[in-house]
């Protein structure tokens, strides 16, 4: 079974005008990647190498300077219903209750009220927040808010999830619990995901493949296939003896030891 490609970058370059010094800043250069249906791919690289820039182009919010981005074979020129993104900030709207926040995307896409509410409550139950549906965001902890943000992302039933360091603002324990939830949900629903992270263990525990980027201008310098079973169970996966090997490999690629010396 040849899996279909869901998200594809073809020789994508992004330049930003640099008004101070004139000329351009090349954020990413010649990036090509393809993510198959149901695959979870992590993207790691030094700070400022253009990871978020790639994700923004994938969501259709920012155009590529050259090259093309495709979702399900279709050229991405503007935001579309198949892609949803999630950031480090939960971006919950303070004037909406949690369930209303979860409904935001569906509301924008004009899903009928009854169906919308049912789906939102369903997802809140799956994200283990059913009792907080009618609370306001300020009444929730950081971890709970991020769960709500995940429910909001899933509510529009996207085929591709783009996540920019979704758990990096959480404490270590909460993070592991949310990784577990996300890993299971992604496996259950068969969604395709591109996950940006600085957490090497998270990258190994969550993904089928890891793409490593270079310093700016960002290029993809290495692709690592994570050959550990139980992708739907990150908690078990992170205890696997092979994890350390992958971490060492990633540290070498990112030249972390040299940077510290």
């Amino acid at each position: 079974m040849a899996a279909t490609t869901r998200l594809e970058f073809r020789d994508v370059t992004k330049r930003f005008a640099n008004p101070r010094q004139g000329g351009f800043v090349v954020a990413v250069e010649g990036v090509s990647l393809a993510i198959a249906d149901g695959e979870v791919v992590s993207l790691i690289g030094p700070s400022g190498c253009g990871k978020s820039t790639l994700l923004n182009m994938g969501s259709g919010l920012d155009p590529a300077s050259s090259g093309e981005v495709r979702v399900d074979g279709e050229l991405v020129t503007k935001p579309n219903k198949h892609v949803a993104f999630m950031l480090q900030k939960d971006l919950l709207l303070p004037w909406r209750t949690i369930v209303e926040n979860v409904e935001l995307g569906q509301e924008i896409q004009r899903v009928a009220g009854g169906e919308r509410r049912k789906r939102a409550l369903d997802l809140l139950a799956k994200c283990r927040l059913p009792d907080f549906a009618h609370h306001y965001p300020h009444q929730l902890s950081g971890g709970m808010r991020q769960r709500a943000a995940l429910a909001r992302t899933l509510a529009v039933d996207p085929t591709v999830l783009l996540m920019d360091e979704p758990f990096s603002a959480l404490d270590a324990q909460t993070k592991m619990v949310l990784q577990q939830d996300l890993g299971r949900t992604l496996a259950d629903t068969g969604k395709t995901a591109l996950l940006i992270t600085h957490d090497l263990v998270e990258a190994v525990a969550m993904s089928d493949r890891i793409l490593v980027m270079s310093q700016r201008p960002g290029r993809i310098i290495e692709e690592i296939v994570v050959e550990i079973s139980d992708r739907d169970n990150p908690m078990r996966r992170r205890q696997h003896p092979k994890v350390a090997t992958y971490i060492v490999q990633l540290m070498n690629l990112l030249q972390i030891e040299q940077a510290a010396a």
Partner: protein, 267 residues
């Protein structure tokens, strides 16, 4: 939704309310007998009983209610128009940085200019009608509202707008679902300020010219040296202001009910 019901039940709150009632009685007593105690004559500070009598007299013979109504109407119309204009301009400028850049020196100049000084000008333009008074009110109400809305649009986290756009929101949806509700808390802060200023705008217009409204009564009482009537007029003006402020606070309580208690301004 509202928590005021349970609030009134609390013994601490009841004690505070009793305290402020007591203070009010003490204030009235001091007003009644205080001036006499210090030998201040009634034409400087009339005792409260005299002011009350004057109030009844003005109600019966001087159409006090009519003049109060005129002033209140002008305050209401001026306030609503000024607020709408302020909201409109606040959003328009907030969404168009280039327009704000071009217009900001003029806005700043107009903001610094004492708005009440425009009253004579407006009277030259529109004569002794209600329009100059309403116009001064509009002008004075406009700024705090516009500045607050503008600031709110500017302060909005662009990532929230990007989130909405990633859900394929169009411009109108971004406005109604994100920008407008996000601007409401600062808007209400601006409305509170505007409510306290609105009466000043109308009053100055009335003082400068015309023969109706509380401003006219105030000028008339001053000419007649009728201190008690001056007091009555000041009190009526204050009551209009309090009523407007009360309405703003009541609406705010309904609209911004989602804010955590500590973020809501104490009334």
């Amino acid at each position: 939704m509202s928590k005021t019901g349970s609030l009134a039940m609390q013994p601490g709150v009841r004690k505070m309310m009793a305290g402020s009632a007591l203070l009010f009685v003490a204030f009235l007593a001091a007003w009644q007998w205080g001036p006499g105690l210090f030998g201040i004559p009634a034409f400087i500070i009339p005792p409260v009983s005299l002011v009350w009598e004057q109030f009844l007299h003005m109600m019966a013979h001087d159409h006090l209610l009519f003049h109060t109504g005129i002033t209140a109407m002008q305050v209401g119309v001026g306030f609503v128009l000024g607020v709408l204009l302020g909201i409109l301009c606040g959003f328009a400028l907030g969404m168009s940085p280039s327009a704000e850049f071009v217009l900001s020196p003029y806005i700043l100049a107009l903001q610094i200019a004492p708005k009440v000084a425009f009253a004579p000008l407006f009277i030259i333009w529109f004569g002794y009608t209600v329009y100059p008074k309403i116009l001064v009110c509009v002008l004075i109400v406009f700024f705090p509202v516009m500045i607050n809305v503008l600031g709110a649009v500017r302060a909005l986290d662009p990532d929230i707008v990007r989130l909405a756009r990633s859900f394929t929101a169009n411009r109108l949806q971004v406005f109604w679902k994100i920008e407008f509700p996000a601007a409401l808390p600062p808007l209400f802060a601006g409305l509170r300020i505007a409510a306290t200023l609105a009466v000043i705008g109308v009053l100055v217009g009335e003082l400068v010219g015309g023969n109706i409204g509380l401003g006219y009564m105030l000028a008339f009482a001053e000419g007649a040296g009728d201190t008690a009537a001056v007091f009555v007029t000041i009190i009526m003006l204050t009551l209009i202001g309090i009523a407007l402020y009360g309405i703003v606070v009541a609406i705010e309580g309904r609209v911004l009910h989602y804010l955590p208690a500590r973020a809501r301004l104490a009334t």
